[in-house]
């Protein structure tokens, strides 16, 4: 595992996402209300580009007819078969314990610290004035 600088924080506003390639694999990086998350861009079902699907809420109902829209913008819906995954954990809605998308830990680091290393920034130019999104792959 190594930390990879994948974007400047300003590139991914809240509700936004960026698909990056790190060590040969595509990863979707999401900003949910200022917190960053990263998922592999590959649905565990049949390999679709999961992170390019719609970002949706959790629609729940403790009982028939008791509709609740909870945690807006926290789920990703696969573009092929509409399976839903929790962006923060990669867990599927339907089978959270058995069907999961690979997730990666993400941090935000100031450019000043990054300049010292040992971070890898193959594709992102780092300046000391900005903060950066760093994914552990």
């Amino acid at each position: 595992m190594a930390k990879h600088i994948v974007a400047a924080v300003a590139e991914i506003p809240p509700g936004g996402r960026k698909i990056v390639t790190v060590r040969g694999r595509e990863i979707g990086v999401f900003n949910i209300d200022g917190t960053f998350h990263a998922l592999i861009n590959r649905c565990p079902h049949q390999g679709a580009v999961l992170c390019e699907g719609a970002i949706v809420s959790r629609l729940e109902a403790p009982m028939p007819g008791e509709y609740r829209l909870t945690r807006p913008g926290t789920m990703i819906r696969c573009p092929w078969h509409c399976w839903e995954f929790d962006i923060a954990t990669g867990q599927s809605w339907c089978e959270p314990d058995d069907v999961k998308a690979r997730s990666y830990s993400v941090s935000v680091e100031p450019g000043e610290a990054l300049a010292k290393g040992p971070f890898k920034a193959e594709t992102v130019a780092v300046s000391v004035e900005q903060d950066y999104v760093v994914v552990d792959v």
């Binding site: 009982m63 809605w93 089978e95």
Partner: protein, 356 residues
């Protein structure tokens, strides 16, 4: 072959004629029936034409009257030779199909009273399903309340195909009462014929109706699942009676698969639907619509993913097998005990309760 203490979960009792119900009906409705001459009708349903060979095994046909219409015959054919601890009587009758909700209730009450007096009172091994007007859930609930104190009634009987799919909220008052009294909902093969047995329209022949009844069961189960009946009524169980069994694994797979994609449409359905089915749905084992051998039955149970779902049933007097070959020979003893006794006892809690 059938171990002692078995519980026969589907025995058909036939009302010989509406005339036999008159003493068990309220005076108002007795006169109503007589004024209309309805006692001269027999209310046979085209789902079970009395002349169809499948509906009466030749050696179970009485000299007179309909098959299933005589207690001594039932004792001679099933209760004495197979020696079940209990047999659950299910009446299929036109009373469940007629449009007048009040007359439907009056006739159903007559049937239930007749069952209690002419059958349950006369043989302690008998139990019964409550017959209700299925198109009037409030009246149906009333009838269940009326009889709930009699623990010999162990189930509420519906047909798979009625006016609306069985899961609809319209039906919930009945389910609420059934759950309260520990009565499973028995969904028997059949239709009120408000709609064709095939979703594609009215067929021409008995053959296609009969085969399509399995789709009716699948539709009923899909509705119960999708509408959230199992969430709303967490203690309610459903028994699919005379449904055949082999369609279920494919249907469960299809339901699971589709649910994963559209589950937001039914957000109350918050776990794998097939797991709900395994926990809450049971099936009577006759007719068994696969080769009648142990390997086929084991294969189906493997596809169910559960050996707790099948319930022993003779389906008397219907003709699905000969002699006493109700279950395939060569089943492992533990499984045989489950199917014939443990599973029924777990399904029908009232079987374990004291009766007067």
């Amino acid at each position: 072959m059938i171990p002692p203490g078995a519980i026969d979960c589907d025995v058909h009792v036939t009302v010989p004629s509406v005339r036999d119900l008159l003493p068990y009906m309220e005076p108002y409705w007795r006169e109503h029936v007589e004024r209309r001459g309805l006692e001269r009708e027999n209310f046979d349903t085209s789902a079970y034409p009395p002349g169809a060979a499948i509906n009466a095994r030749p050696d179970w046909k009485p000299e007179k009257g309909p098959a299933g219409g005589s207690l001594p015959a039932l004792q001679q054919h099933i209760l004495d030779p197979l020696a079940p601890e209990f047999a659950i009587c299910n009446v299929i009758h036109g009373a469940q199909m007629i449009f007048s909700e009040d007359l439907s209730l009056a006739l159903c009450r007559g049937i239930n009273n007749w069952l209690a007096a002419e059958w349950l009172d006369r043989d302690p091994r008998l139990r019964a399903s409550i017959v209700v007007p299925p198109h009037s859930p409030d009246l149906a609930a009333e009838e269940v309340e009326r009889l709930a104190g009699d623990k010999r009634f162990v189930q509420v009987l519906l047909l798979a195909m009625a006016e609306v799919p069985l899961g609809r909220r319209f039906m919930w008052p009945l389910y609420r009462v059934a759950e309260k009294h520990g009565l499973p909902i028995g969904v028997h093969a059949g239709s009120s014929f408000r709609h064709p047995p095939s979703a594609g329209g009215w067929g021409s022949l008995y053959l296609e109706d009969y085969v399509s009844f399995a789709q009716g069961h699948a539709g009923a189960l899909n509705s119960l699942l999708a509408e959230g009946v199992f969430q709303k009524f967490p203690d309610l169980r459903v028994v699919l009676i005379e449904s055949g069994v082999t369609w279920l694994p494919a249907s469960m797979w299809r339901f699971n698969k589709t649910w994963r994609g559209v589950r937001a449409e039914v957000p109350w359905l918050n776990r794998l639907p097939a797991d709900i089915v395994r926990e809450r749905v049971r099936l009577t084992a006759q007719p068994f619509d696969a080769p009648p051998d142990a390997a086929s039955l084991l294969s189906i149970l493997d596809q169910f993913g559960s050996d707790e779902m099948l319930l022993f049933a003779t389906d008397y007097p219907h003709w699905h097998y000969d002699e006493d070959e109700v279950l395939p020979a060569g089943l492992p003893p533990d499984l045989l005990r489950k199917i014939t006794r443990d599973n029924p006892l777990a399904t029908y809690p009232r079987l374990k309760q004291e009766t007067p």
